[in-house]
């Protein structure tokens, strides 16, 4: 049976920073991290909308496609070491995810495993047809009509703390604010009050530093010329040793790749931040402006000084809706004059799409290797590239119109400039995400537990 070890500090590791993240670093954390908690953060802005579409086709679907693979990889070591798991891999269907893991647990003989599903974030029924306004467009949710796919409120740490209190070993949620997944075990372990804003703010700092996994250990950071980081192929994922006062050492398992330094911590502290003094979460308005980092050893950085103010009155809601289609085509040119042939190719496609009156809301034509990432703001750093890739992408109302964009790029094979190769084309439906806000009392949360006999 799993019991929490009794130590001075709470050890929390991050086993994934996005839905497609590597799996083996989490296994290393589970095996050698001496963790109390292993947290997997796997939901991007659009992930739930995609999962909700899957669920609408199959009521047992709608959770993270790697759920079983990740849990199967780490759970034996977690059980052996007394490590409990929190993850938002429930996506659009936490209860189905929990049921799937319960089935796996029975097959594997994980007797006594207590699995909790946290629900309540799905507010689709509440906002459908409502006058809630989207921040981005100013339009009402009601106006989206049948385009509306999903609406999920960002829950705070409270329902996860409730699941912890019920003794769950594996807690599966849908949309919960990313740092709240990490704040919850700190609140549960240290008994912080829900109005101890400074403690919640510092706990949020720890969550924010951990939530993107490898991004605080040298991933999304390394530059072989200016900021070399060793061992990126075996990048160690981070863990925090949190003291009861909230100060935490950010570190990683010895003999893994990457580095934890004040610079890697600073870079992650400011990631996806606007006003550093007002980082809005469901639990607290966190203030990062007093955070200090101190290196106390190799790959050991102390983070302290996070603070906070009273939490916002309403919860943020991500609204997913169908918003037309994107058609895209690419083809490459190389050798002398590659850029000129690429430019001619773009001109031809543009002319064809106009002749055929393909209705595009927006069309983007560019040369990868020249101006695709930074447009005209990107200045050439050297000689003309010896190879370029033509890329044309357009947004359309119908899939049929979107298909024509890729088809015209592909047709350059036999109708365009000399030496065009490697054409690819694609059509995808756009799932746009809008933001609205909802009163807390409209978002009741529940915890559903099951124990494997």
């Amino acid at each position: 049976m799993i019991t929490r070890r009794d130590t001075a500090s709470l050890r929390i590791g991050c086993g994934a920073g996005f839905s497609g993240d590597r799996i083996d670093p989490a296994v290393i954390l589970a095996t050698r991290g001496k963790l109390d908690w292993l947290v997997f953060e796997c939901l991007a802005e659009r992930t739930i909308a995609l999962a909700q579409q899957a669920r609408s086709q199959d009521p047992e679907a709608g959770y993270d496609p790697l759920l079983v693979e990740r849990i199967e990889a780490v759970l034996p070591a977690c059980r052996a070491n007394g490590t409990r798991i929190i993850t938002n891999m429930g996506a659009a269907n936490p209860r189905a995810a929990a049921a799937r893991i319960a089935r796996l647990a029975r097959e594997r003989g994980w007797h006594g495993l207590k699995i909790a599903a946290v629900t309540g974030d799905d507010v689709l029924a509440t906002v459908t047809g409502s006058e809630h306004r989207l921040l981005e467009t100013g339009g009402q949710v009601a106006a989206l009509g049948s385009q509306l796919v999903s609406a999920n409120a960002y829950l705070g740490a409270a329902p996860v703390v409730e699941a912890i209190a019920q003794g769950a070993h594996l807690i599966i949620t849908g949309r919960v604010a990313d740092p709240a997944l990490f704040l919850a075990p700190q609140v549960a372990a240290f008994g912080w009050r829900w109005d101890d804003w400074n403690a919640l703010g510092q706990g949020t700092v720890v969550g924010h530093l951990l939530e993107c996994a490898g991004q605080v250990t040298g991933g999304y950071f390394a530059d072989p010329e200016t900021l070399p980081v060793p061992g990126l192929a075996n990048l160690g994922f981070p863990l925090a040793e949190v003291r009861p006062d909230g100060a935490a050492v950010i570190t990683k398992v010895p003999d893994t790749g990457g580095r934890v330094t004040t610079l890697t911590c600073k870079a992650q502290l400011l990631y996806e931040l606007h006003d550093p003094a007002a980082y809005l979460t469901p639990d607290v308005v966190a203030d990062f402006s007093g955070v200090r980092f101190t290196e106390t050893g190799a790959d050991r950085v102390v983070a302290r000084g996070g603070a906070g103010r009273q939490r916002p009155d309403s919860l943020k809601v991500s609204v997913g809706y169908r918003d037309g289609f994107v058609g895209e085509g690419q083809i490459s040119y190389a050798g002398p004059g590659a850029v000129a042939r690429g430019r001619l190719a773009l001109k031809i496609v543009d002319e064809r799409l106009r002749q055929m009156q393909v209705p595009c809301d927006e069309l983007r034509s560019e040369l990868i290797g020249v101006d695709a990432l930074h447009g005209r703001a990107g200045r050439p750093v050297g000689a003309e590239p010896s190879e370029v890739r033509v890329r044309v992408a357009g947004r359309t109302t119908t899939a049929a119109a979107a298909r024509k964009i890729g088809a015209e790029v592909e047709a350059l094979y036999t109708n365009g400039p000399a030496g065009g190769g490697g054409a690819v084309k694609s059509v995808r439906e756009v799932l746009a995400i809008g933001t609205t806000f909802i009163r807390r009392e409209l978002v009741p949360c529940s915890v559903h537990c099951e124990v494997i006999p």
């Binding site: 502290l269 918003d323 703001a377």
Partner: protein, 111 residues
Amino acid sequence: MKLRQIALARSGDKGDIANLAVIALDERDYPFLVEQVTSARVRTHFGGIVRGEVVRYECPNVGALNFVLHGALGGGVTRSLALDAHGKSLSSLLLDLDLPERAGPLPEASA
């Protein structure tokens, strides 16, 4: 001198807003960054990429500046036509910023 020689940068995204954190490799360079890397310079450097305003937050506690670029992600990650819809590569463009040479050596680190 390029910004890249004295700072690192990291891009983040939320909707149609990008943020670019610029962090001094040596904290003693922070005042120089404050003086040189203004929101107006960043605005000009990014040209047509940023349609809205550029807001700068100073973060002396970590020797960094945080730039918030409104309307920089082609309508938002989920509907953008851009190859790099998240704007992950925008940080690298910022590091190409030209800076004057610093006058004299770095000041002594304060206690």
